[in-house]
Symmetry: C2
Subunit: 342 residues, 2 copies
DNA sequence: AGCAATAATTGAAACGTTTGTATTTTAGGA
DNA sequence: TCCTAAAATACAAACGTTTCAATTATTGCT
């Protein structure tokens, strides 16, 4: 039982393949009655378009490349579950369209750039989604220059408009810091992703601005940057344990690092709520089960990642990039009082 | 600058496209010197094979379908990070081959079956990887019947040999239970995935066998089955809190549910190490940072998931299924003493 | 009824491969 | 040198689509 092709339909309908092709794509040059008949037959014999033929002919790939650094490659550390969620969201958005997602796991910036060049040069995909953006991101410059459709998760500092989806890291960071200041904390440590990432920069800006507005100065080593693993969170706490100004609050960029902070508390005998507290941003609902549950900023990751999928398709279909930008504001979830008790 | 094709090479080398095609695939009917020349030119002009033409002609897709239930679809609960790791492993194994992975996220068993039928009937992939196997798994029967290459993550009770990769859940469960019995626990609760899954069955068997061997009976409600989320782990502890036989140990099927158990301990005032303890299997290195760190069985998930990728390719290329089976034994990591202190 | 304009359809080529068959080249003997 | 067998290459069709140009059918008007 060979697969039904457009030719099968043509035969059955006593039409030429060309007409059938047009009928199926609802072309205006074919009579309504004919279209109906063709669709009828197609349905009947369970015809589905062969993508390979389509691609070969049109030169389009109908696939979206998702170029993401895979957190767990190499390291055995948990860097959060974002990867999964993002993938899910993108695929959810693609479902029902003609597009498929092709995942390109990469290890670092350089190999992601390499992969992108490949994709663009050999037209391996119609559009690209990237994450881990940098302030001056060469990949973005490249794709802009090549006029290749793309959407970024996270922003950069390019002035040419491009399509992005992002959480408002700076404002969130500002508010988180301001809130803790209001609650009486003065020695606030912030745990951030590696320095070269845009959202690390944004977070640091928000943090510093809040301190500035409150007229408070903190030592520079209260800004920690590194891989957002539990290990790093733990190491940060340990490193600052004997600091002159003892930290009383930590703002972690994700739940994984916050878990590490809690682990350090436990190990060092730092009592939560008395000696220090922890907050996390980019919550994805794990920290509700930490011991103790911590205050977080919830990131609606299904929403952002779904937008990624939608945007890339609309971008591919020609919508201007400046219409495809979304900034979401994470939402505070107060699971603790976060004042220090005497 | 149009992409270089086989035709470009043919022109440059003054050969027919057919010969070039054969030369590139190292066919014995073409002279060595010619092959060399062709390769030289191909290299020079940066030729890469167009997959669409290849597919169209050969009818092969050179893609591997990964049909997995995506944990976070719908629910906001963390079900562990396995999904990511498995994907990574598979893609790692595929890297360098001609094959690409195509992810098919599904919600439940029925839709996964549906998706598989689709893939097989329309030859959307050359092989399929599935997980979430059941003792009598209709999807496996179907693919066996259609003689379609596949590899499962987890086993079933089919007698026809098929290719699989699995952790030895039963033995692990047996040993985990036996160990706790040796340490003096008698009221051991086991938290398992939903009943219909094969590895739930295996876990329960191992558990029961260990108790039997020790001549101990536990109430049937000490075997909990449900989604492996923190929420479920927490709910289980709460449900058994007022039980006649107070549980003193929990064996969780993953770290997510163990996190929930710890959370319940904290909330109910159950003191870890004094009132009760928790173990987890399928460790992927998160629980080292729990409060407190818990004893686990480490699953080398990169290894197993890499095997999935390797196996499906070898299966597609014709290796018999019975040569493509792997069972790995998770390794005990004792982070706690796990005896109850008075 | 005849004509022009338009609507609907057909034919054929093309996308980049692979592969079966036909053809040419080469090598080895006599 | 010529013939035969084997080796190397060329030719052409095919995979399933789309699309341009060409053809046929239909309509509206006088």
């Amino acid at each position: 039982m060979a697969r039904a092709t457009i030719k099968t339909i043509a035969q059955k309908a006593d039409l030429s393949v060309g007409t059938v092709s047009r009928a199926l794509k609802d072309c205006s040059s074919v009579k309504d009655k004919t279209k109906e008949r063709v669709r009828q037959i197609a349905e009947e014999i369970g015809y589905v378009r062969n993508l390979d033929g389509l691609r070969l002919r049109t030169g389009r790939t109908y696939s979206v490349a998702v170029v993401m650094t895979t957190p767990t490659t190499g390291s055995h550390e948990w860097e959060g579950v974002e990867y999964t969620n993002i993938l899910n969201g993108i695929m959810g958005a693609l479902r029902g369209t003609m597009y498929r997602a092709a995942i390109y796991p990469v290890d670092d910036f350089d190999s992601s750039f390499q992969e992108i060049r490949n994709i663009v040069e050999q037209r391996l995909a119609d559009g690209i989604i990237i994450s881990g953006t940098r302030p001056d991101d060469a990949r973005i410059s490249y794709m802009l220059e090549k006029d290749f459709p793309f959407v970024t998760y996270g922003m950069s500092e390019h002035f040419t408009p491009y399509s992005y989806v992002d959480a408002n890291s700076q404002q969130m960071s500002y508010e988180a810091t301001a809130r803790l200041l209001r609650l009486g904390h003065t020695n606030i440590v912030t745990i951030n992703p590696p320095d070269e990432l845009m959202y690390s920069k944004q977070r640091q800006r928000g943090y510093l601005r809040a301190l500035e507005d409150a007229g408070i100065k903190t030592p520079t080593d209260f800004i920690a940057t590194g891989p957002l693993t539990p290990e790093f969170g733990k190491a940060t706490v340990k490193a600052l344990y004997n600091h002159n100004n003892k930290p009383t609050a930590y703002i972690c960029a994700n739940e994984a690092s916050a878990l590490g902070v809690l682990s350090a508390f436990h190990e060092l005998g730092i009592e939560f709520g008395k000696d220090a507290i922890v907050n996390a941003t980019d919550d994805i609902n794990v920290s509700a089960y930490f011991t103790p549950p911590i205050t977080t900023y919830y990131l609606p990751i299904e929403e952002t990642s779904k937008a990624l999928g939608e945007f890339i398709i609309r971008r591919i279909e020609g919508e201007p990039a400046q219409d495809l930008q979304r900034m979401v504001m994470p939402q505070l979830i107060e699971r603790q009082d976060d004042r220090l008790k005497p």
